[in-house]
């Protein structure tokens, strides 16, 4: 997995004076499942289209297998795409849609039949050869699009929010299936999504983007546990993001209390952003020795496996996930392990996300629309 297949170097992209990509640097390894993740308008689709050859970068270089491919048109690239709304050809049936690439390459008939059959088996659509694509369900169309893109044996499959049109249950199913297909064909998948859960469950590498810049690149665990800035922390999962100050290495002060932590390397008394994930906070009796912070429970929501409770601590509303029931209005103590406290350098996103005093999930707002850049 070490081989570097695609390299984006200092990529910029402008549309009529508007910068949509700012200095993108990214390498993609052979055979990995990499996801470009971010809210609508963050530049993830544009990045994918630059790899596919549908857009030319305004500045910067795209390398494929060590060769510069900036001006190589899509039909000469060893990458194939699964489009957002599948873009199946309505005037062709399932067989002809899948066979399209081979027909263009003028492959012999026997080979085409064999390979299409193979593809249909892979995506579980055997028997659908003569069906009109317009009559297929969303999930079936999706499979045809994947089969059509894979039949040319590309080295990279580009997927542009392929699951966004499916309902939740089908989506989960397709997530598993896509991952299985990727392992079966053993090629690189570059996947674009705005759904952080999808990104975390499927990918080897996640690239978090916002406003045309890469915010963080890492494995799903890295991204979740070690967010680089307040944007990533807020975008990936639930998090309490607080203003803090490093006292010295491994000691941080926030919410009026001084905590031990595991991070270091900051200046003395440097202002920082502190992230505490809701599931990493323990509830203890208010008079317990372990209680580091004290607060009032302002709301309790049963979520199935756990309760989600909002605790007011000195006017800042925390979210805490716990399996123990705590009544609304209770006065409780909170305990946080040193390794549950994650310290981040201040960034342009500091102070933007606030607390949980809103009923509305701020992510739900930013993710409302479909990708439109």
């Amino acid at each position: 997995m070490a081989e570097q297949l695609i390299l984006l170097e200092n990529i910029h992209k402008d549309y009529g004076g508007k910068q949509v990509l700012k200095n993108i640097n990214l390498y993609i390894r052979d055979k990995e499942f990499i996801t470009l993740l971010g809210p609508s308008g963050c530049g993830k689709t544009t990045t994918l289209r630059i790899i596919g050859g549908f857009e030319t970068p305004s500045a910067g270089v795209v390398y494929f297998d060590g060769k510069k491919i900036n001006d190589l048109p899509p039909y000469k690239r060893q990458a194939n795409t699964v489009f957002q709304r599948y873009a199946l050809f309505p005037h062709l049936n399932v067989f002809e849609n899948i066979a399209f690439g081979l027909r263009i390459a003028k492959k012999p008939k026997a080979l085409i039949e064999e390979r299409v059959g193979e593809m249909l088996r892979m995506v579980n659509l055997t028997g659908y050869e003569r069906a009109s694509v317009a009559r297929l369900s969303g999930g079936e169309q999706q499979r045809v699009a994947i089969a059509r893109a894979l039949i040319n044996h590309p080295r990279v499959l580009l997927l542009d929010e392929p699951l966004s049109a499916l309902d939740l249950k089908l989506r989960k199913e397709m997530q598993r299936e896509l991952k299985a297909i990727q392992q079966q064909v053993g090629i690189t998948f570059v996947f674009v999504t705005h759904d952080q859960e999808e990104a975390l469950t499927m990918s080897d590498t996640v690239v978090v983007m916002n406003k045309g810049s890469i915010q963080q690149i890492g494995t799903p665990t890295d991204i979740y546990n070690e967010p680089k800035n307040a944007f990533v922390a807020d975008f990936i999962g639930e998090s309490n993001i607080l203003d803090g100050m490093m006292i010295e290495d491994r000691v941080v002060r926030f919410s009026g209390h001084t905590f031990d932590c595991v991070d270091g390397g900051f200046g003395s008394h440097e202002k920082v952003d502190v992230v505490v994930r809701p599931e990493d906070v323990d509830i203890v009796p208010e008079d317990s020795d372990k209680a580091m912070l004290l607060g009032d429970v302002t709301s309790v929501t049963f979520m199935g496996v756990h309760y989600e409770i909002i605790v007011d601590i000195n006017g800042f509303k925390w979210m805490i996930q716990t399996t123990d029931f705590v009544p609304e209005g209770a006065h409780i103590g909170l305990f946080i392990e040193p390794d549950a406290i994650h310290i981040m350098k201040r960034s342009e996103y500091s102070g933007l996300y606030g607390d949980y005093s809103l009923d509305v999930d701020p992510q739900a707002i930013s993710l409302g629309g479909e990708e439109e850049e």
Binding site: Y75, F89, H91, F100, A134, A149
Partner: protein
């Protein structure tokens, strides 16, 4: 439908079809009279088919309409694709305005303007006759083009822009992608545009009148000539044939539409 609406509808259709019905009936009249039907006869039809000038004008009209509609469909479709890709707002607004001119301008203005240009250039080149089949063809292509563009452009706008991209992604050159992905999608608009151009060209009198050369007479110009002189029921026979041809074409296209809808409903 309410009774008053029904009566109203019938009155309107009587108004619309009475003149045509009269033409039909009197085309079979034995005598030359236009108000008294004296007996059934096909003699006006026989006379019509012996009228070689009229027959030649029918042939001319078809040749002209076919060439004009094909040229304007090819050029108009290419133009629509170009306009669709155009990103400069100003260029687009300018093209839209120019495209609208022949549709808004009265036919007589379009006809006169082209005629003046042809005559001017012809006289400068020292040509004996500046107007010919070719000037008429140019005029017909000019007034058909906007209608083709207007039919094709919306189809392009409705099309998923990823379709041609998907074709290129799968190995098509941009040209192949146009013929294999874009064209099948916009085909209904292209065909409607072709049919519109064809019928507009068939039917046009005013613009043809100003741009026609002496040697090339289309059917409408021939009819104009016939109606200038004394009335003969031969023209009624011609009108009857035209009417039934149109009726047949409309019925056929209606059936085609219905099949199309059925297929859509199946989906």
């Amino acid at each position: 439908m309410k009774r008053s609406s029904r009566i109203y509808t019938i009155l309107i259709f009587v108004f619309l079809f009475a003149p045509i019905a009269i033409l039909l009936v009197f085309s079979f009249n034995e005598a030359k009279s236009l108000s008294v039907f004296s007996g059934f006869s096909l003699k006006w039809y026989q006379e019509l088919f012996r009228d070689s000038d009229t027959l030649r004008s029918v042939q001319n009209t078809l040749v002209l309409a076919l060439s004009a509609s094909l040229i304007s469909t090819v050029m108009g479709t290419a133009a629509a694709v170009g306009i669709h890709r155009l990103r400069s707002k100003y260029a687009r607004a300018a093209l839209d305005t120019v495209t609208n001119i022949p549709m808004i301008n009265p036919d007589i203005i379009t006809g006169i303007s082209l005629m003046l240009m042809f005559v001017f250039i012809g006289s400068r080149l020292g040509m004996a006759a500046s107007l010919s089949f070719w000037t008429m063809l140019i005029a017909h292509v000019t007034f058909c083009l906007p209608y083709v563009i207007l039919q094709v452009l919306p189809k392009l706008q409705q099309m998923d822009p990823s379709l041609p991209e998907a074709a290129m992604d799968l190995g098509c050159t941009p040209t192949q992608a146009f013929f294999r992905a874009t064209l099948p999608e916009i085909m209904p608009g292209v065909i409607t545009g072709l049919i519109m151009a064809f019928t507009l060209s068939l039917d046009d009198f005013v613009i043809s009148y100003f741009t026609a050369g002496n040697g090339f007479q289309t059917l409408p110009i021939r009819i104009y000539g016939m109606t200038k002189k004394t009335v003969t029921p031969k023209m009624y026979a011609l009108a009857t044939i035209i009417f039934f041809t149109i009726l047949l074409l409309l019925l056929l296209s209606n059936f085609a539409d219905r099949d199309d809808e059925k297929q859509k409903r199946k989906k």
